[in-house]
C-alpha cells in the first residue's frame, strides 16, 4: 500500500527526516510514534504529497506523487495536525465543501452520521468542542471514500471520552478493510489501534514491530515484571526521559 525508502528531508540546518524506511500493508493500521520533533509529521506530509523530500522514494497505492498526484488525491483521506476549519461555516456546509472536491464518495449527511455529528450538522464549527472538531476533521477525510487514511495525531488534546469515541470510529473504518497510517504520542492509542508501529526519534526509525513484540523486547526486560509492561515503557526506554520542546 505504502512503501517509503531512504527518505531524507532537511530544513536549513535541521535534519527532520534522516533516512526513513516504512512499509504499510493493505488493511493494517500502522502507527508512527515518537516524541515531539521526532520527524513524524514531516514524514507523513511527504507521504501525503504536501512536502517534497530532499531524497528518497514514496510509492503509494502503486503510484508516485510526481506522476499521479491528481489520482492519488482522489483516493486518499487526509487529516492534518492542527487544521482549523472555518469557524463561520456549519458542519454540513463544511462536509459538503470537502465532498464537492471528490469524484465519488458517500453523501455529506451519511459521513456526518458516521462520525456521530448529526445533532450538530447545523451548528457553526466555531461552536463545536475539541472532540467534535476532530470528528468533523475525520468526516472531511472520509468524504471521498478513501482507500488509505492518514491521521496525524487525531486525538491530541482530547478528553478520554472523546478519545475513545474517535478510536471506535477508526476501528470501524479498519473493519471495512481500509489502510491507515496514524501518528500519535499516546502509547495506549497505538496499542489499541495499530497492528504494527515504528518508533521515530531524531528523524530516524529506532524500533519497529507489533506493540506486543516491542513490549516483549529487551528495552523493557529491565523492569521487574515484563508481563505488566506496556508500550509506554518501551517508548520512554528508547527515547529517554528528558523533556522535549516542540
Amino acid at each position: 500500500m505504502l512503501r517509503v525508502r531512504h527518505l531524507r528531508k532537511t530544513y536549513k540546518d535541521v535534519v527532520a527526516v534522516d533516512g526513513v524506511d516504512l512499509e504499510v500493508m493493505p488493511g493494517e493500521c500502522f502507527g508512527l510514534l515518537g516524541p515531539n520533533g521526532a520527524g513524524k509529521t514531516t514524514t507523513v506530509e511527504i507521504c501525503e504529497g504536501l512536502t517534497n523530500a530532499d531524497s528518497g522514494d514514496v510509492e503509494l497505492l502503486g503510484m508516485h506523487w510526481n506522476s499521479h498526484a491528481g489520482e492519488l488525491r482522489q483516493r486518499l483521506g487526509i487529516q492534518l495536525q492542527e487544521t482549523q476549519l472555518s469557524d463561520k461555516l456549519t458542519v454540513m456546509e463544511t462536509v459538503r465543501l470537502f465532498r464537492s472536491f471528490f469524484r465519488r464518495g458517500p453523501e455529506a449527511s451519511e459521513v456526518i452520521e458516521l462520525v456521530q455529528l448529526e445533532d450538530k450538522q447545523k451548528s457553526r464549527v466555531g461552536a463545536l468542542s475539541g472532540g467534535q472538531k476532530q470528528r468533523l476533521a475525520l468526516a472531511c477525510a472520509l468524504v471521498g471514500d478513501p482507500e488509505f487514511l492518514f491521521l496525524d495525531e487525531p486525538t491530541t488534546g482530547l478528553d478520554p471520552q472523546a478519545r475513545r469515541l474517535l478510536w471506535e470510529l477508526i476501528e470501524r473504518f479498519k473493519l471495512a478493510g481500509k489502510t491507515i497510517l496514524l501518528t500519535t504520542h499516546y502509547m495506549e492509542e497505538a496499542e489499541r489501534l495499530c497492528e504494527r508501529v515504528a518508533i521515530m526519534d531524531f528523524g530516524r526509525v529506532i524500533a519497529r514491530g507489533s506493540p506486543g513484540e516491542l513490549v516483549a523486547s529487551a528495552g523493557v526486560a529491565r523492569r521487574a515484571e515484563p508481563a505488566t509492561g506496556n508500550l509506554e515503557d518501551v517508548f520512554v526506554a528508547l527515547t529517554g526521559r528528558h523533556l522535549r520542546d516542540e
Binding site: 492534518l80 487544521t83 482549523q84 461555516l89 459538503r96 471528490f102
Partner: protein, 345 residues
C-alpha cells in the same frame, strides 16, 4: 443545493466565500454601511449654504438707514464705545462712523475677510444712498448646480476608496487566515483544483462589488442628487477593472504572509499613500507638480479620476483610456507576480 451545479467545487467554494462574508458583521459594516455614513456626514457638513449675512454697526440713524438697504448686511445701531467694544471682541465685522465734512469712516480689521467684504458692501450701500448711479448694470446668476458641489466630488472618491479597501482586504485577509489556520494546506491535500480556490474569491468579489457600488452610488443619486452624466456601462467597466486590480494587489500582498498582523501592516502601507494622494477627499492636483506623474500612476487615482469624469462630466471610454491603461497594467503585473510567488502552505 442538490443539483449538479450546487455540487461543483467552484460553486461550493464561492458559497463559502459568501457565507464567510455575510457571517462577519464587521465586514458587512465596513463595506456597505460605512461609506453611506461617511457620504451622509460629509454631504451634510459641506452642503451648500446661503451666503452669510455680515454683522455690522453704525452710530447714526442716517447711516443705519442707508446701510439697511443692503440685504447681506445685518446693521445694528450702537453708540461708538459699545460698537468699538463689539468690534474688538469679534462680534461685529465692521463699524461705520460719521466723519468730518459728511464723510464716513470704516473701522475694521483688514486681515479679516469678513471685515473686508463688509467694508465693500457698506461703502456701496452708503454711496448708493447718497445718489451714486452705477454706470454698468450688473445682475447675478447664482450657482448651486448638481455636479459642482463637494458631495458630487466626494462620492466617486468614496466609491473608489471602497473598491480599494474591499478588494485588497477581502482577499488578503481571507488567504492569510486560511494559511495561518492550515486550512489552505488541508484544502490542497484534497483533489480541489487550485485555480478554483482563487477563482472563488474573484467571483464573490465581483458579485459583492455590484451591490456595494449600487448602494453607495444609489444613495448619492437619491439623497443628494449626484449626477450620473456618463454611460453606466463605462461606470461599471471601471468599477470592475478597478476591483480586479485591487484584488490582484491583495493577492500579491497575501502571497507569502503567515500572520494577520503582517498582512494588516502591509495592506496599510500599500493603501495609506493612496488614501492621502489619490484624491478621495480633495483633488490630487493640490500635490506638487513633481509628484503628479507618480500620483497619476496609482491605481486609486486612476479609478477615482475615471469615475469622477464619467459621473460628473460624462466622459466616454476613449477619453478615459489612460486610466484604463494604468489599471490594466496594475492588474497584469500584480496578478502575474502573485501567481509566481504564491505559497500554498
Amino acid at each position: 443545493m442538490n443539483s449538479a451545479l450546487g455540487k461543483h467545487p467552484l460553486a461550493q467554494l464561492t458559497l463559502v466565500r459568501f457565507r464567510e462574508f455575510v457571517r462577519e458583521p464587521e465586514a458587512v459594516f465596513w463595506v456597505f454601511v460605512f461609506p453611506i455614513l461617511l457620504a451622509a456626514g460629509l454631504g451634510l457638513a459641506f452642503r451648500s449654504r446661503p451666503a452669510d449675512v455680515l454683522k455690522i454697526a453704525a452710530t447714526t440713524p442716517e447711516l443705519v438707514r442707508a446701510l439697511r438697504q443692503e440685504k447681506l448686511l445685518n446693521v445694528r445701531s450702537l453708540p461708538a464705545p459699545a460698537a468699538e467694544e463689539a468690534l474688538r471682541t469679534g462680534k461685529l465685522a465692521l463699524v461705520v462712523l460719521p466723519a468730518q465734512g459728511g464723510g464716513v469712516l470704516y473701522r475694521y480689521d483688514d486681515a479679516n475677510p469678513d471685515g473686508r467684504a463688509a467694508r465693500m458692501l457698506a461703502d456701496a450701500a452708503v454711496q448708493r444712498a447718497a445718489g451714486r448711479a452705477d454706470p454698468v448694470a450688473a445682475g447675478d446668476r447664482l450657482m448651486h448646480d448638481p455636479g459642482s458641489r463637494y458631495i458630487d466630488f466626494l462620492l466617486p472618491g468614496l466609491v473608489g476608496m471602497n473598491l480599494m479597501g474591499s478588494g485588497i482586504w477581502s482577499i488578503a485577509f481571507a488567504i492569510v487566515d486560511a494559511r495561518r489556520k492550515k486550512l489552505m494546506k488541508r484544502l490542497i491535500a484534497t483533489p480541489m483544483p487550485r485555480q478554483f480556490y482563487l477563482l472563488s474569491f474573484l467571483i464573490s468579489r465581483l458579485a459583492l462589488l455590484v451591490i456595494e457600488v449600487a448602494v453607495v452610488v444609489g444613495f448619492g443619486v437619491l439623497v443628494f442628487g449626484v449626477p450620473l452624466r456618463g454611460s453606466l456601462a463605462v461606470l461599471a467597466a471601471f468599477c470592475l477593472l478597478g476591483s480586479l486590480s485591487f484584488t490582484a494587489m491583495g493577492l500579491l500582498i497575501a502571497c507569502r504572509v503567515r500572520t494577520i498582523e503582517a498582512v494588516s501592516g502591509m495592506a496599510n502601507v500599500v493603501m495609506l499613500p493612496m488614501w492621502i494622494a489619490s484624491g478621495v477627499f480633495f483633488s490630487a492636483d493640490r500635490f506638487p507638480d513633481a509628484l503628479q506623474p507618480l500620483i497619476r500612476a496609482l491605481p486609486l487615482t486612476a479609478v477615482i479620476d475615471a469615475l469622477r469624469a464619467n459621473m460628473l462630466e460624462g466622459s466616454n471610454l476613449a477619453q478615459l483610456a489612460p486610466e484604463a491603461g494604468v489599471l490594466g497594467a496594475w492588474l497584469i503585473v500584480c496578478f502575474t507576480l502573485a501567481l509566481k510567488l504564491f505559497r500554498w502552505s
